[in-house]
Each structure stands twice: as C-alpha cells, then as structure tokens.
C-alpha cells in the first residue's frame, strides 16, 4: 500500500508540474527575469502548493507515524550553517542559468528533448561529486 501511495504521489506531483507550466524552463526563466517582461506564474504555483500542504505538514509534525504506519521522518536539523547557505546559493545560480530544478528535470526527462538528458546527466554527476567529497571527508 505504501509503495502504491508513493507511486501515485509522484505521478500527481508530475501532473501538477505540467499543469502549472513549471515543466517549461522558458517559463521558469520568465519568472526569474524581474527586470524583463515578468511572468509571475511561479509565485502562484508556490502559493497553491503551500496552501494545500501547510495543513497536512503541520499535522505531520505532531505525529510519530504516518497514517499507513511508517515512521514520520521530518528533518530535525535547526542550524543555519554554511552548507545550507552555500549549497542553496550554488543551486540558485544553476537554476538561473537553465531554468530547471530537480522536480521538473525528472518530470520532463522522457519528453524527447536532448537538452534535458544533458542537464540530468550533469545534475546526477553533481550529486555523485557531492557524495564522493562527503565520503572522503568522513574517512
């Protein structure tokens, strides 16, 4: 049952991205271009998503297990450290270059555009680089 819910949640997430227009990198860049002819759509995507998710996520904080009996695994870290700020800064620069973040990248991977295959391969390489650096740091 949990496996089915996970699959359906992913499917719904992808349909939402497509409907919202966020699967189109050009539209994301039009939101990020404040000094150009600005398309505010992405702000409404965030508003719609947070409006719906705020209740369930707030409630989730009070629970030890999910409705299907899985342990509730919410992030517990509190500190605003250099990794959080520096990482988010790098991510934002990359996002501004191509207009693609990880969700839409996966959601349009099978739509037949060579650009997204190049982007996803580079993104996975970036994640692999992080993992390699972390493993080295730990040893």
């Amino acid at each position: 049952m949990r496996k089915l819910v996970a699959f359906l949640a992913g499917l719904l997430f992808g349909l939402g991205l497509l409907l919202a227009g966020m699967a189109n990198p050009a539209k994301v860049l039009a939101f990020l271009d404040l000094a150009g002819v600005w398309d505010p759509s992405l702000a409404l995507v965030m508003a719609g998503a947070i409006g719906v998710a705020a209740g369930p996520l707030t409630w989730a904080r009070t629970r030890a297990t999910s409705l299907l009996g899985a342990p509730m695994q919410l992030p517990v870290k509190r500190e605003l450290d250099r990794r959080l700020i520096g990482g988010s800064l790098l991510f934002g620069i990359g996002w501004g270059i191509a207009g693609i973040c990880p969700g839409p990248a996966v959601a349009i991977l099978l739509t037949g555009h060579w650009q997204i295959i190049v982007f996803v391969l580079a993104m996975l390489a970036g994640m692999g680089l992080f993992h390699a650096l972390e493993s080295r740091r730990a040893s």
Partner: protein, 143 residues
C-alpha cells in the same frame, strides 16, 4: 518591471500548485516522508533507507508526461541554454541541492509548509541567486 499578461497563467499555475501540494501531503501522510526531489534522487543514488518507496515516487514523476500524453497534448517545453550552459547548470544544481539539503520542492514547498526556518532561509537564498543570475545573464551580459 512590466507584467507578461500574455504568458501569465494564474489559474493553471494555482491549480497545478495545488496538485503538487496534494502530492506532498499524500507522501507525508502515507509514507511519512518529505517530497523533496533532490533528496529523493540523492538517497536513491547513494542507497539510503527506504530506497524502494523513494524510487517509486520518482518513477511516478518520470511517467507523468506519458499519462498526460494519453489525454492531452504535452505543454510547450522550451530551452534557452546551450549545451555548455546545461552542463554547468546541471552540475551546480546537483552539487548545490545536496549541500543545501533541498531544492524548490523540499525547501520551497514542503519546508515552508511546515514553517522550517532552515527552509525559509534556503528558499530566500536560491530565489535571490536565481533572480541575480538571470539579471546578469540577460541584462548585463545581454545573452
């Protein structure tokens, strides 16, 4: 600043956002997990716990355009970057989201929804960096 009224899609974006919020709610209420795509990808790659469920979420996300395509034409997908830009952007997004513990979905949607100060700061930082980068590329470099 002038608003792009022609391409602005308030209702579709609000409704699409609501679906994303519903998906994030379903995942946390059913599976007890945060629907943060970079975190899910990272942990599937690195072989963390709950790999099966996480991979199934990503599989659903991957197959969404195929389901969409059965009922309607896919929306326009347009890229403005060269291959070099895509490689650089992909590397930065991959490294940055892992160091920063999240992206638009994990910090922007789920984190703000649960009022996490870390996620609010992360979202402000990557939004500001995104705005600044587009400003530099389009208006200072004129690319």
């Amino acid at each position: 600043m002038s608003i792009d009224w022609i391409n602005f899609t308030p209702w579709a974006s609000l409704a699409g956002g609501a679906l994303i919020g519903l998906a994030a709610s379903l995942f946390v209420l059913g599976n007890g997990r945060i629907a943060g795509i970079s975190g899910l990808l990272g942990s599937v790659l690195e072989g963390g716990e709950g790999r099966g469920e996480k991979a199934l979420f990503l599989l659903g996300l991957l197959l969404a355009p195929l389901l969409w395509g059965l009922f309607a034409a896919l929306p326009v997908i347009e890229f403005h970057s060269s291959w070099l830009g895509l490689v650089l952007a992909g590397l930065l997004v991959g490294v940055g989201t892992r160091y920063g513990s999240g992206c638009t979905s994990g910090h922007g949607v789920c984190g703000i929804s649960r009022l996490s100060p870390r996620s609010m700061v992360a979202t402000l930082v990557f939004m500001a960096a995104g705005f600044a980068t587009v400003y530099i590329i389009r208006h200072l470099l004129g690319a």
